[in-house]
Point group: C2
Chain length 246, copies 2
Amino acid sequence: MSTFVFDAYGTLYDVNSVAEATEQAFPGHGETITQVWRLKQLEYTWLRTLMDRYVNFWEVTRESLVYTLDSLGLSCEPATFDHILDRYLHLSPYPDALGALEALRAQGHTLAILSNGSQEMLDRLVANTGLKHALDAVISIDPNRRFKPSHSAYELVGDTIGATTDDVVFVSCNPFDVCGAKGFGFKVAWIERVPPQMMRDEVRAASVVGPGTMFRLLRMQMDTLDFRPDFTIETLTGLTDLQTAG
Amino acid sequence: MSTFVFDAYGTLYDVNSVAEATEQAFPGHGETITQVWRLKQLEYTWLRTLMDRYVNFWEVTRESLVYTLDSLGLSCEPATFDHILDRYLHLSPYPDALGALEALRAQGHTLAILSNGSQEMLDRLVANTGLKHALDAVISIDPNRRFKPSHSAYELVGDTIGATTDDVVFVSCNPFDVCGAKGFGFKVAWIERVPPQMMRDEVRAASVVGPGTMFRLLRMQMDTLDFRPDFTIETLTGLTDLQTAG
């Protein structure tokens, strides 16, 4: 039996599910807000870790939304801002998430999340979205105060649930997280939600490469960072078929 | 007298001056390549520093170009690839760069570059573009093997040319670099090449927010990262008028 450790944002949960709220608040700008916000959110985790200026992921998520609206010259009532931010506690799980977790659990595997999210925002998210019962542990990087892909983020899997590195299959859609987890020593499964041909077709079909396509170009293709995933599959459902032993 | 320390890429040199080469090699894709390449190049400096997987900036620049072309499903002859990469040794200085350096030197200030670039690529760049004679020192972050905004990158100013932190005015167009340098303790002048109203007008005028606009939204507006510049000016020429003493 293995321990399957999942990234949360972008892997089990669709971060684009904030788009309805951003478009409703700022008609015509929802797509740009959604993509700039997510791109800056991760930038800020990296920059704050490099600068030794840690704040938790809820604060990073808030600050990156402030940045996004300021950059676009948009403003809103505090209640609207809070409503958009609150979407991070109610993100939609990908359609394959719950089924994949239940199928892996039926195989006897241990299941956990390791996420940049603060413990509180993760606990509320899994409770709000029906995934809580399918998970054995929800681990935040917060105690070590360094975001992924720092080694100290991945160390928390062993420190928290006692899994040995060899027994962990780390699952992520985020290429930088795949490389970070692989560099740490986990076996890694990459969920490749935008395969190369799909990406190319999308670019060829666009008269102007818009924000959503830019996001997929920047953050959903495998990085050139020394490491490759052990497994590449297109949906979480495929995890039950992996030969992960050893 | 102060020591003015300049960021190179994006501050003295226009990184968009690779666009002619990318468009010539890949007609219709030049703009997307140029922006994805620059966005990923900096991502890779941050990610590699976080992962403790340092390679120098020439290699990062190469790897981010590989990533960019792969993501877009584009390929070319090695000579074409090398020609594009070689543009980083021949970037165009901003029109205000040389004049500003000469005017500051006439005031008696010491002038240096502190850049992510490797020593070799920086030395070749300043020699190729006529800025060499206007600078007292060209400092690469390479000896400390951590890219900006790590403190150890900024430490090299004192270690290399002996300037005390209080005497340094750090000059950058890059908001993350402004915040990093300010967090380190330098006085910082931000060259705000895309003021808020210009950014807003650009977004309002676009039917689809394209790659260049995304770049300016993501990387040319002041970050929400605890620090603010001491001085905000629109061109390098304005540096001669700053009251930087004390």
